[in-house]
């Protein structure tokens, strides 16, 4: 499975995983996301690009209701996962987040051992019946996170003792250990060196075989390398959404073009 060729999947054949319609987000009086509608496809990597402060992270956090943890944040509009409105009253955000995992910009390992970091999700979701199963899950997750070889001898060492790049891969491993259906990544590589970045990118491409991945990035090259779909945000608006190749070679909106060519942002 490690030698799976890149971009073998045909994007057109995918089904919609997450659909957003007329989403508005407010932080108190600040209108951070305006009228965003988008369909994010299953088994596809979608990248969000746009200048700083345009609302990429905000929108990303709406997709698994992480914004619930911010008191002043208010979300309007419809966002559905597999056709199910995720902001409906009866939906349990905890269950939702088990399905829609998230990796953050700054690596945030828990101050626990590497093993416990990865085992945390499976434990709270009751994915393992016994220690052996748990060990297996942890190992698989760490392998997926491309960090197994580096840490397999020191699973009891604290996760905070790893380097920045290792920490971030640990966090990715931690996220995939719970087997999410969608993985949201907010600038996962901003703290990494080029080699670690390459590893994570490779990893993302592998993850696409099973998950829908949404990645926020400031690197146009990265977006071009890993994603099939790209969404360009500007001042809270979704300006353009389409095939990555099309966005980068032949953008329809002048704002997209100026951003890509480096004139705004």
């Amino acid at each position: 499975m490690y030698d799976a060729p890149l971009r073998k999947t045909d994007v057109e054949a995918q089904t919609t995983k997450i659909a957003a319609r007329d989403v508005q987000v407010y932080y108190g009086d600040t209108h951070a996301i305006k009228d965003v509608s988008v369909d994010l496809l299953d088994k596809t990597v979608t990248s969000f690009i746009g200048p700083s402060g345009c609302g990429k992270s905000t929108f990303l956090r709406c997709l698994n209701r992480m914004n619930d943890t911010i008191d002043i944040c208010r979300v309007e509009g419809l966002i559905s996962l597999d056709g199910q409105d995720i902001y409906e009253k009866r939906v349990d955000p905890v269950q939702l987040r088990a399905k829609v995992g998230m990796v953050f910009q700054k690596p945030n390992p828990f101050p626990k051992s590497i093993y416990d970091n990865v085992a945390y999700g499976p434990k709270i979701h009751g994915m393992a019946r016994n220690k052996a199963e748990l060990d297996e899950i942890v190992e698989k997750a760490l392998r997926r996170g491309a960090i197994w070889d580096e840490v397999k001898d020191r699973l009891d060492a604290p996760g905070t003792g790893l380097s920045g790049g290792q920490q971030q891969r640990l966090c990715i491993a931690r996220a995939v250990a719970t087997e999410p259906e969608v993985l949201l990544m907010d600038e996962p590589c901003s703290a990494l060196d080029p080699i670690a970045t390459a590893q994570v990118e490779e990893l993302i491409d592998e993850l696409r075989e099973q998950y829908s991945v949404v990645i926020v990035t400031h690197s146009m090259q990265q977006a071009a390398r890993v994603s099939q779909k790209t969404a360009f945000f500007h001042l809270g608006n979704l300006v353009e959404y389409g095939e990555t190749s099309q966005i980068f070679t032949n953008p329809t909106d002048p704002r997209t073009e100026s951003y890509i060519t480096g004139r705004i942002g």
Binding site: V94, E136, I137, K140, R144
Partner: protein, 449 residues
Amino acid sequence: MTDATFSGDAPKASGLLEADARTRRRNASERRFRMYGLAAIGAGMFFLVVLLTAIVSNGIGAFQQTFIEVPVYLDPAKLDKNGGRDPAQLAKVSTFGYTPLIQTGLYQQVRDAGIETGYEDARDMKALISASAAAQVRDFAIANPDRIGDTVTFRILASSRVDGYLKGRVSRDSIAQDKNIDAGHLELVDALREDGALRKRFNWDFILGADASESRAEQAGLGVSMLGSLFMMLVVLFLALPIGVATSIYLEEFAPTNWMTDFIEVNISNLAAVPSIVFGILGLAVFIQFIHLPQSAPIVGGLTLTLMTLPTIVISTRAALKAVPPSIRDAALGVGASKMQSVFHHVLPLAMPGILTGTIIGLAQALGETAPLLLIGMVGYIATNYPDGVISGFLSPNSAMPAQIYEWAKRADPAYYERAWGGIIVLLVFLLIMNVIAVILRRKFERRW
């Protein structure tokens, strides 16, 4: 290894709407945990409410006292045998000379009102009257010699048993064993109350008066010890504020990073956590045993509390100084001010509201502190006279509000418990005022850079 565990194709067990058993369990534990938190806050609030209720319900009565209006015939034959109306001569008659007059006055009054009692002798009614009444009448007679020979109506304190009866503390059952009063007296009290001669009134003397002996609970007041507290707070204010501010300025603005500075810092943070009783020991050993300052004097209490309050003031002053942005210092230095000028002309004025807030909070803390005062002898029973001047206010023995409350709480007569609670109300009102001032200061001058 197989990919099976991670297969995304394997359908997830549950949708988003119907929670599976495990999720239900987790959510239940979530709710439970939340309830624990709420319960903890509820417990805190509950304790606060119980505490405040206990204080108010037990203490509010202390502000009212039972008085009897008694017409007293100031008999010249008894008070001024020579007839000269000379105050010096009048002063020779002690309070014992006045007591019978008051008792007779009450007896007459009872008879005139047509109240039936089983008491044949005026002295039988003395249980109703506070022992302080004689002194009150005597003071009046000495101050107004020309009224001797008249019948003057005095509003005198009823005894604490009578007061307790009106306030529900004393009942016919509870006095069964009491030598000081019997059921007949209570009948008489009821009758006098009906008559209007005996009733509860607001009692300024509780707030302004001096402490009284164990057996005269009805007379005891907080005023003198309040003055003791005032003098101590003056000492604390005039020492702790400048010294605290100077310390903070030094540490925040001038201190080089060396072992001396570190040592000072360590000392301050540790002093902040030293138990207050240890400061009492310090005050006793240094100010009284070593420097021989007068025992029980507010100046010693003030010095001790100053040392105790300093760390609080230093900590808040430093926070206030830190909150002034460096740009202000740079701006002042940039126009050629010296470091000292930049601090005293710019930084300090900007930090002043914060400093004052911290000082007021420190003062409030000092005002309520009791333990060190006990060690330096500022115990309650000392506060029986007003100091006769500012210097003696600092130097002559006195008590302080919390020590007075402690003293009352220790006395055997339950009438003093009510006064202790009442004293706490007064103390808390002072603290409330100080804290409100602090909050207002903070609100008013709160600055965001």
